[in-house]
C-alpha cells in the first residue's frame, strides 16, 4: 500500500503550534463569561437576584432572559429550548444567568453571589418514570413489515426480553468554547468550537434579532467532538455572541471540564422491550420491539437519534415480520445529544443481545445464528429497502477465518474451565450503519473556491476539521489546478 500522506495539520499538532479557540492570546478588552448554573433539576423560578453579582468589583454585567434582544429560543428541530429559562428550570446545571467580568476568576467568584428562590417540582430522571407519565416529545414512531403477531404465534420458539444501555460522556479533550468579536453594523464574528456552523449562525441571528448574514462563524478546528459539539456547542456560541452584542466587547466562553461534564448532554440511554420468534435452527421469523430513549430536558436531536436506532434495530439480519416502535422521553437531565453512531449502536445492541439469547437457548455458536440470519441479495429491510451487494455474511466468514475463530473458542473454553475467578469471552458481530442524514435534503454540500492573482487557492466549506483529516481530503478533491500548482491550498 502506498504510504498515506501526512495530516495537513500534523506538523502543527505535534509541535504544539496548532490553534484552538481559546488556547490563544486574549484579545484586548475581552470579557470572560461564567454562568450561574441551576442547583436543582426541576423547579419553578420565583426570583433570581443578580444584584450582589452585578455589584462585585470587576463585573461588567450579568445577563439573563430579560436581556435577550431577539427570541429567547435555541431549539432547532422543535422550539422547546430557551437560552435562559424564564419560569421553569428543566435540569440541574441549566444556565440561568451569564456573568461577564474582566477576568475569569472574578466572573467565577461573582457567579457564586447569585441568589435563586425557587419552588421545587418533582423531577423525572428515568425512562420508566417518563413512560409512566407519558412524557414524550412527539407521538410514537413505528416501522412495520409483515404480520408480526401471527409470525410470533407460529414460531417454534419465542423469547421475551428487555435490554438497556446507559449514557456516556463524550470527553472531547477540548471543552466547549467560543470567542465572540463584535464588528461594525452589529456584525458578530464567532470563533467557535462547533460541528454545526450553520446552526450556530441561524440560532445566533434569531437570539440577537439580526439577519443571519450578520453572523460569521469560523471554526479553526476542534479538539474532538464525537457528536458532543453538533448541538451542544450552540448554546455556548450563542451565549458568547449575546455577551459581545450587548457589551460591544469581545467575549470568551470556555467551560471547565467539570462544568462541561455536569451541564452538557450525553449519549442517550435506551431501554427496549422485545419479543423474538425463531425456529430450531435459529432462523428468526419475527421481531417485535419497543425502543425508548432518555432524551433529557429538551428534544435536541432525540427524534433523529431514536429514528436511527429504529432503522438499525434489525442490524444486518433479514427478518420477515418486524414491528419497531420508538418513543423519545422527556426527563430532567441535561439534553442528551448526538454521540458516535447517533442511536445506531443502541438499536444494534438490542438485536445482538436477543441473538445471544437465541444461541444459548438452542445451545449453538452465536456466530452460526448470525450467519444464518444475515441479509442476502434481494432481501427487504423493515423500512422497505431492497438489499443488493450483501456482504455481511462473507465478511463474517472472512473475519472468523482470519482470526482463527474455532481455535480461539477452544482457548477461551480452556481458560474458563481452569479459572475460577477470571473469565474470558469471545464474539464476532456485523454492524450495519446507514450513511448520510435521514433528513435527505441535508445530504448536499458546497464549497467556495478562490483562486488568487498569485495563483494560490483557498477553499471554504461547511466541513469541520476535528481529526478526521478533512482538510487533506478537501485538498485532494480540489480541482486539478491545485495539483498542478502542487501547493497545499488554504482550507477554511
Amino acid at each position: 500500500m502506498a504510504k498515506l500522506p501526512w495530516h495537513i495539520n500534523g506538523p502543527l499538532h505535534v509541535s504544539g503550534r496548532s490553534r484552538f479557540v481559546g488556547d490563544e492570546a486574549p484579545l484586548s478588552g475581552m470579557l470572560y463569561a461564567k454562568f450561574f448554573f441551576s442547583p436543582v433539576a426541576h423547579a419553578k423560578i420565583i426570583k433570581l437576584d443578580l444584584s450582589a453579582a452585578q455589584a462585585f468589583p470587576g463585573v461588567y454585567a450579568v445577563y439573563g432572559a430579560q436581556d435577550v434582544p431577539g427570541q429567547n429560543m435555541i431549539g432547532h428541530v422543535m422550539k422547546d429550548e430557551p437560552l435562559f429559562p424564564i419560569d421553569e428550570i428543566m435540569f440541574h446545571g441549566q444556565p440561568l444567568a451569564m456573568i461577564l467580568a474582566e477576568d475569569e476568576s472574578i466572573a467565577e467568584a461573582a457567579a457564586r453571589l447569585l441568589i435563586l428562590e425557587y419552588e421545587e417540582l418533582p423531577p423525572v430522571f428515568s425512562i420508566e418514570e417518563a413512560e409512566r407519565l407519558q412524557h414524550w416529545y412527539i407521538p410514537e414512531r413505528k416501522i412495520a413489515r409483515g404480520d408480526v403477531d401471527e409470525a410470533l404465534n407460529k414460531a417454534r420458539y419465542t423469547i421475551h426480553g428487555q435490554s438497556s444501555t446507559g449514557g456516556q460522556e463524550h470527553f472531547y479533550m477540548e471543552s466547549q468554547r467560543t470567542r465572540a468579536i463584535p464588528c461594525d453594523h452589529d456584525l458578530i464574528h464567532l470563533l467557535c468550537a462547533t460541528q454545526s456552523t450553520m446552526e450556530v449562525q441561524e440560532i445566533t441571528a434569531k437570539v440577537l434579532g439580526i439577519a443571519a448574514h450578520r453572523v460569521v462563524v469560523e471554526v479553526p478546528r476542534l479538539g474532538g467532538a464525537f457528536g458532543g459539539k453538533e448541538r451542544s456547542a450552540t448554546i455556548w456560541a450563542v451565549m458568547a455572541a449575546l455577551g459581545a452584542f450587548l457589551s460591544g466587547r469581545p467575549v470568551q466562553v470556555l467551560l471547565t471540564r467539570d462544568e462541561d461534564m455536569r451541564v452538557t448532554g450525553k449519549r442517550h440511554p435506551f431501554l427496549s422491550k422485545w419479543k423474538i420468534g425463531f425456529d430450531e435452527d435459529g432462523k428468526i421469523a419475527a421481531w417485535d420491539i419497543e425502543l425508548m430513549c432518555n432524551g433529557g430536558a429538551y428534544v435536541d436531536l432525540s427524534i433523529a437519534i431514536l429514528e436511527r436506532a429504529m432503522f438499525h434495530a434489525e442490524n444486518c439480519y433479514h427478518i420477515p415480520a418486524v414491528r419497531i416502535k420508538g418513543r423519545a422521553c422527556r426527563t430532567n437531565l441535561p439534553p442528551n445529544t448526538a454521540f458516535r453512531g447517533f442511536g445506531g449502536p443502541q438499536g444494534i445492541f438490542t438485536i445482538e443481545s436477543a441473538l445471544g439469547q437465541i444461541a444459548r437457548k438452542l445451545n449453538k455458536d452465536p456466530l452460526e445464528i448470525r450467519k444464518l440470519n444475515c441479509y442476502r441479495d434481494g432481501d427487504i429491510t423493515p423500512y422497505g429497502q431492497k438489499i443488493s451487494e450483501a456482504s455481511a455474511l462473507d465478511m463474517l466468514e472472512l473475519v472468523a477465518q482470519a482470526a482463527d475463530y474455532q481455535k480461539l473458542i477452544h482457548e477461551v473454553e480452556g481458560f474458563n474451565s481452569s479459572h475460577e475467578h477470571h473469565k474470558q469471552g469471545l464474539g464476532i458481530m456485523p454492524v450495519k450503519f446507514g450513511i448520510s442524514f435521514t433528513t435527505a435534503l441535508m445530504n448536499q454540500g458546497s464549497a467556495l473556491i478562490w483562486v488568487y492573482i498569485d495563483g494560490s487557492v483557498s477553499v471554504s466549506t461547511g466541513g469541520v476539521e476535528m481529526g478526521q483529516e478533512l482538510n487533506l481530503t478537501e485538498s485532494q478533491l480540489s480541482p486539478p489546478t491545485m495539483k498542478i500548482l502542487n501547493k497545499i491550498p488554504s482550507i477554511k
Binding site: L4, W6, H7, N9, G10, P11, L12, H13, V14, S15, G16, R17, S18, R19, F20, D23, E24, A25, F56, P57, G58, E102, D103, E104, S105, I106, E108, A109, R112, F171, Y172, M173, E174, S175, R221, L222, G223, G224, F226, T256, R257, D258, M466, G467, Q468, E469
Partner: protein, 481 residues
Amino acid sequence: MKQEQKPGGTYRYNRISFYLNGALQELDIAPGISTLDFVTKQLHLYGSKCSCNEGDCGACTVVIAECREGSTAYEAITSCIYPAAKLHGKHLITVEGLGTPEQLHPIQKALLDHHGTQCGYCTPGFVMSLFACLASVAHPDHESILAALEGNLCRCTGYQSILDAAAELSQEHDPSTIVPPWCREVEPKLFAFDQKPQEVEKPCASLFSIDNYLLPCDVDELKDMLVQHPEASLIAGGTDIMVQVNVLRKHFDTLIDLGNLPELRQIKMGRSGIHIGAGVSYSQIMDSGIAKCDLPELVKLCRLIASKQIRNFGTLAGNIGNASPVGDTLPLLLVYGARLLLSSQSSSRECALRDFFVGYRLTALQPGEFIHEIIIPIPPRTAFIKSLKSSKRKAEDISAVVSAIRIEEGGKAVLAFGGVAAQTVFSERFASGYSPEADWQVLAEQVAQEFTPLSDVRGCADYRKQMIINHILQYREAYHG
C-alpha cells in the same frame, strides 16, 4: 472558600529563576498558580493543553529536568497540578521547545509518520511523555512505554498508531539522539545553580485561590516559616492540594512547599529501618534499589498509584499527611509498622503511623510540625506481606477499597483497610481470629461485618463489604499458593 475575597488586592509573588526551553528566566509567579496557567496565560505558550485540569488526562504534560543524586533526571509531569513556583532551579521543557513544524524532533516526526495525531489536542502531552521516557531509558520495552503513556488520554486514535510510533522510536533512538544539545547544555548549569527565590508584593486584578506560597530553601528555614505561620498548610508534591484548588476552588491562606528541599528528598538505610524523606516522590521509591530489595510490595503498590506524570512528584508523605480514608499506601504502611519523624523548630518526635490518624482526615500533627521522614522497619524475609487495591481503572484511579496483610512466620497476622471507615484502620477481628488453622471464608465474612462502609461514587456499602471478603480470599490464594 473566602466569600469576602475581592479583586484589586496585592499578592506576594514568588520571584524564581529557572530554565525554559534552554534559556534562563527570572520571573514572578502569582501565588500557587499552576505551571500550565503560567506557561499559557503568562508566557503565551499554548502548546500545553488544559483538558481536565486535575492531572487525569495528560494533555498538559511537560518535562522537567533537575539534578538529583549526581545526574539529571528528565521527568514528565502534569503541569495543571504542578505549582509553578516549584520550577525554581529546574529546566522546564515544553512541546514548543522540542521542535518546530519545519524542524521536528524525532518524536514529533514519528507521531506524524504513524498518524499518531488526529484532532491534535492531546498530542503535545503524548510528545512530552514520550520525551521523558526516551530521554531516561535507552530502548524502553513495551511495558515501559505503556507505563510512560498511561497518564495520557487520546479520544481519537485508539492509541495503536501512537504505540507504533513509540515502538519505532524505542528501536531507532536512545537518549543521545532524543535529548537535544540545548538540554545537555543546561545540565551543568542546573548543578551549579545557587540562586535563592525571592518574594515580591504586586497588585493584581485577578483573584487567586492561594494567598501566599512559601518556598523554603532548607529545613531550618522551613521550621522558621512554620513558627511564623503555624496554621499554614504543607504542600509536598501538591497532587491533591492543586486538585482542590483547580476543581473545588478551595482557598488556602498560606502553603509552605517542602517538596524541593534536598535533605527531604533522600531514601536512606538506617539502623531502625528505611528512612524515606517527606519530599521523596513515588517514582523515586520505585527506582530505589533499597526499596526494591527490602520493600518490594511498596514498589509494586506505587505502580498502581495515579500515573507516571503524577508519581513523578506525588509523595508518600503527602499521602500520609492528606490522611484520606482511601490513601493508597496507608494500609501497607500500617502493616509495615511504619513510624513518622515529626519535626518542628522546638522538637523532634517519632509517632507510630497507627497513632497518627485520629479521625476523618485528622492527624496527630501539631501546629508548627511537619512530617520529616517516614521510617519503615525492614520486615523479615519470612513475613508474607501483600497489598491489594480495588478501583474502577487499573491506573489513574482512587481506590474504592485498598488493603494490606502481613502474616508472620509464627502465625501472627494483621490486616488493614482503607475505604471502609473514616480513616485507614486495622481489622481487630482478623488479628484476633487469625490462626494458621482458621477458616478464611468464615473469617472474611466476620471481618466484613466489622465495618460499616459508606456508599459513594466509588462504590456502595455492599460492594465495599464484598471487596473486603474478596481481598481476604485473594490473600488466602496468594498465601497458600
